[in-house]
């Protein structure tokens, strides 16, 4: 039975589907708007690609008309609206960028914490510092090939929230740390969310009171109870020794010091707000945070904490 030509919306959507499936176009949704007499097909994209990006990806610009229907491009990012606890402010997009907020690599649904701004020791360029297992996670990733997004993808971030790309890591020096370049899309300031400015770096010492802002457990305080530690952790299938570990216990009366998703946080001296260590691990029983002395981290990555 000949049912006649398909209706305009159906025909347009059908014609546009080929673009939805094209790798590299970052199209999240295609729909039809306008009026029955003047329909418009809309491409909801992660972000509008500039001609140079299209050329790099060997893509042609989207045609002005699809099957004779006008085309429109809008930015639209969508996610399942799962029922869950409301997000904390530091799990949302922030501008300017500060330490203590949600961050992740772009190619995995995950979330860790942005430690904060550091500077390249040679060039002075601003950089983002967090953990290897937050910014990179996989062995053999080439610099510049992995984008970093804020907020992290687990908190709704997408390619439109990119702030930089992975640059180098400290795992060869047995330090779970990595830095990313910044793309200039947002300003970056040497502050910790909910704590304030941090300045310079100081060595950890036993009994030192420290404070951090983490993506998951927010602002917590602790006391340094161990220094010069070494331990082995699994990174993928590789067991890898981590050195220069600082153990941090909760301050008396506080039930929690850190949790999953806090990786990458800066621990600051509670009095001076100088940077002390980079959070990366922990335990529940006993409640304890593990961080890495920022001195060796800065040396290995050739970066400085803003003075």
């Amino acid at each position: 039975v000949d049912s006649g030509p398909p209706s305009t919306p159906y025909r347009v959507i059908h014609g546009a589907l080929a673009y939805l499936r094209t790798p590299g176009r970052e199209i999240n949704l295609i729909d039809v708007t306008g009026t029955p007499d003047a329909p418009v097909v809309r491409f909801h994209v992660e972000r509008a690609l500039v001609p140079e990006e299209l050329a790099e990806r060997s893509l042609e610009p989207l045609p002005d008309r699809i099957d004779g229907v006008a085309r429109k491009i809008v930015v639209g990012r969508y996610r399942l609206q799962r029922f869950g606890p409301p997000r904390s402010a530091n799990q949302r997009r922030v501008d300017p960028l500060v330490g203590g907020v949600s961050i992740s690599r772009s190619n995995q649904v995950s979330a860790g914490t942005l430690g904060g701004l550091v500077h390249d020791s040679a060039s002075g360029d601003p950089l983002l510092l967090s953990n290897f297992h937050v910014l990179v996670a996989r062995w053999g990733v080439r610099p510049g090939t992995q984008q970093i997004v804020q907020p992290g993808r687990l908190d709704g971030g997408g390619l439109g929230d990119a702030v930089g790309s992975y640059l180098r890591h400290g795992m060869d020096d047995h330090l779970d740390a990595a830095i990313a370049s910044v793309d200039g899309s947002r300003r970056l300031v040497a502050q910790q969310y909910g704590i304030g400015a941090y300045r310079g770096r100081t060595e950890p010492f036993l009994g030192q009171h420290v404070v951090k802002q983490g993506r998951s457990t927010q602002r917590t305080q602790g006391v340094v109870t161990g220094i010069n530690g070494q331990a082995v952790f699994n990174y993928g299938s590789v067991r890898w020794r981590i050195r220069e570990i600082v153990s941090i216990d909760p301050v008396p009366g506080s039930p929690i010091v850190s949790g999953p998703g806090d990786s990458g946080s800066f621990w600051l001296d509670a009095q001076t707000h100088t940077a002390v260590a980079l959070h990366f691990a922990g335990s529940d029983q006993p409640e304890r945070a593990l961080a890495i002395d920022l001195g060796p981290v800065c040396e290995a990555l050739a970066v400085d904490v803003p003075a």
């Binding site: 153990s247 999953p260 990786s263 006993p286």
Partner: protein, 102 residues
């Protein structure tokens, strides 16, 4: 950190290095660091080598095998039962139903 009547830091670090040589290959030893000996009053607390062991059973085994010295180079060795993991969802706290927390 160093106070009068306390061991110099380099001796403490040497003791920690010796502990790593003795125990670092045992999979139940998850962390070796330098902390304070909390068994004495706080004002007299002195640096000690801390050996973090995964479970009470592993601690008993190491003691039974006589592999856990009480003192190295005059520095106290303290056993701590604890296990650690990267601050990812594997068993720590509440975890969303998908994805991974760094």
């Amino acid at each position: 950190m160093s106070r009068p009547n306390q061991p110099p830091p380099d001796r403490v670090e040497r003791a920690a290095a010796t502990a790593r040589q003795l125990l670092g290959d045992d999979p139940s030893v998850v962390l070796i660091d330098v902390g304070l000996d909390q068994s004495s009053p706080a004002e007299a607390a002195s640096p000690a080598v801390r050996v973090h062991i995964r479970s009470r059973e592993d601690l008993d085994r190491l003691r039974h095998e006589n592999r856990l010295p009480a003192v190295i180079e005059g520095i106290s060795v303290i056993a701590v039962v604890a296990d650690y993991r990267l601050d990812k969802p594997s068993g720590r706290g509440s975890v969303p139903d998908e994805g991974e927390l760094g």
